[in-house]
């Protein structure tokens, strides 16, 4: 396999763009530059350049699609402007949103992870068991082992699905929690 790839004549930038595009299209989850590079037997830098160019091309011709960076990978998705028409076609409505309780719990977990149930209770002031169950069911959070403290409570953190559903490249893209301090009051 490796050899076969090596023996091929060097791909042109256009071919690389086309290949990257094809892989991003078939990938069920956001696909990382590293994985694309691995599959194609190319350097990461080359792939990065190809994807940059590809994104520029999409934007330039006002495509209905966009290549987004999400959860550490690339994803082909429709442009936000067309959501109404797409919904008409798909006959869907925005799916059920999370409850305020679940959102608050998710916010605590996202910023404090890994965090235990008692710690979440401390911040929210409310028992959050059902919210945690909802979040686990929706695979937005995952168990991250047990904390070595009294009762060895389970620790929770956010999942890749969380990044995907909230359109985040990675956790560092979350606005800093300290930024919210100014908004308080």
């Amino acid at each position: 396999m490796e050899e076969a790839v090596q023996q091929q004549p060097a791909r042109t930038p256009a071919e690389l763009m086309a290949l990257a595009e094809a892989l991003i299209f078939v990938a069920d989850e956001p696909i990382s530059t590293r994985l694309i590079a691995e599959v194609l037997g190319e350097d990461k830098g080359v792939i990065d350049a190809a994807i940059d160019e590809l994104r520029r091309e999409y934007a330039e011709r006002g495509s209905g699609l966009q290549i987004r960076e999400i959860a550490g990978g690339w994803q082909l998705a429709t442009r936000t402007e067309f959501h109404e028409e797409i919904r008409t076609f798909l006959k869907t409505r925005p799916s059920a949103k999370l409850s305020i309780a679940a959102l608050e719990t998710l916010a605590v977990i996202a910023y404090k992870q890994p965090v235990t149930v008692p710690e979440i209770l401390e911040i929210r002031g409310v028992q959050s068991a059902s919210a945690i169950k909802t979040l686990l069911d929706k695979r937005l959070i995952v168990a991250k082992g047990r904390k070595e403290t009294v009762g060895r409570p389970m620790m929770y953190g956010t999942s890749k699905e969380f990044l995907i559903q909230f359109g985040l490249k990675d956790l560092s893209e979350l606005p800093s929690i300290e930024d919210f301090e100014d908004l308080v009051q």
């Binding site: 910023y111 002031g125 929690i177 919210f180």
Partner: protein, 255 residues
């Protein structure tokens, strides 16, 4: 009943908890959040009090009023609310106690409200963060990705083997054996007729459940013919056999 204030109206950002008391009717609308910290924040705002200098006696009274009201309205008061009530009363008590004149060190720093203020601020931060997440998820819902491509992994169906097929067939045979049938007349259906029937059915519906198809057969002889017809059709290609799980129904599909 004692005279209650006419109206309680709570608006926690988008969240609303409303208790409207008219002379005629009583409306209760309480949001999903229902946490003691939210209630406290609301009461503090309502009083236009400074969060760093909470008029603890007044707020405690109002907090307890609210809980009494909840009880009167038969709303189950969550334990968290009662815990907070106890904490408020504790803080209130501490503040009423005269300072120990002998301890000189801590004057301001030992404010019994400090811990509560910290918690309220922390809570408020995460409420804001939750609002941010809400906005993000709303935005995300305007973006669509393609539907899943059918792969072996996503396909719940399992390719059926001849043995699975035989198993289904035997099940049907057994069922037929149990039924006492009145033989009226023997109507011969040839194999080619059976194949045609089955092909027509696949063409018309795209897929045929073997359980259903076999079930329609009137006697063992037809069943055997039907079974051979299935084998024949599969052998000649153009159709696929899939079984939905072990011992499940087998579906004949045109490819």
């Amino acid at each position: 009943m004692t005279q209650e204030p006419e109206q309680y109206s709570f608006d926690f950002h988008s969240e609303t908890a409303e208790i409207v008391r008219d002379s005629e009717e009583l409306k209760v609308k309480i949001g999903d959040f229902a946490g003691p910290l939210d209630l406290l924040l609301f009461l503090i705002r309502q009083e236009k009090a400074n969060i760093f200098d909470i008029p603890i006696a007044k707020i405690t009274d109002e907090y307890l009023n609210y809980i009494r009201l909840m009880k009167r309205l038969d709303i189950a008061v969550a334990a968290d609310f009662l815990v907070m009530a106890a904490q408020l009363i504790e803080i209130k008590t501490k503040m009423l106690l005269p300072r120990d004149p002998l301890s000189q060190e801590e004057d301001e720093s030992e404010d019994p409200r400090q811990e509560l203020v910290d918690r309220l601020l922390e809570h408020e931060k995460f409420k804001t963060a939750a609002g941010m997440l809400y906005e993000r998820s709303t935005l995300e819902q305007a973006v669509f990705t393609r539907g899943p491509i059918e792969t072996d992994e996503t396909n719940a169906e399992i390719d059926a083997t001849v043995f699975d097929l035989l198993g289904v067939f035997q099940k049907i045979l057994a069922r037929h054996a149990e039924e006492v049938k009145m033989e009226i007349e023997r109507e011969e259906i040839s194999l080619s007729d059976m194949i045609r029937t089955l092909k027509d059915r696949i063409a018309a519906f795209g897929e045929v459940s073997l359980l259903v198809f076999f079930d329609e057969m009137q006697n063992r002889r037809e069943l055997v013919t039907a079974f051979i017809a299935v084998l024949e059709i599969v052998k000649n290609g153009g159709v696929s056999l899939k079984q939905k799980g072990t011992f499940g129904d087998i579906i004949l599909k045109s490819i």
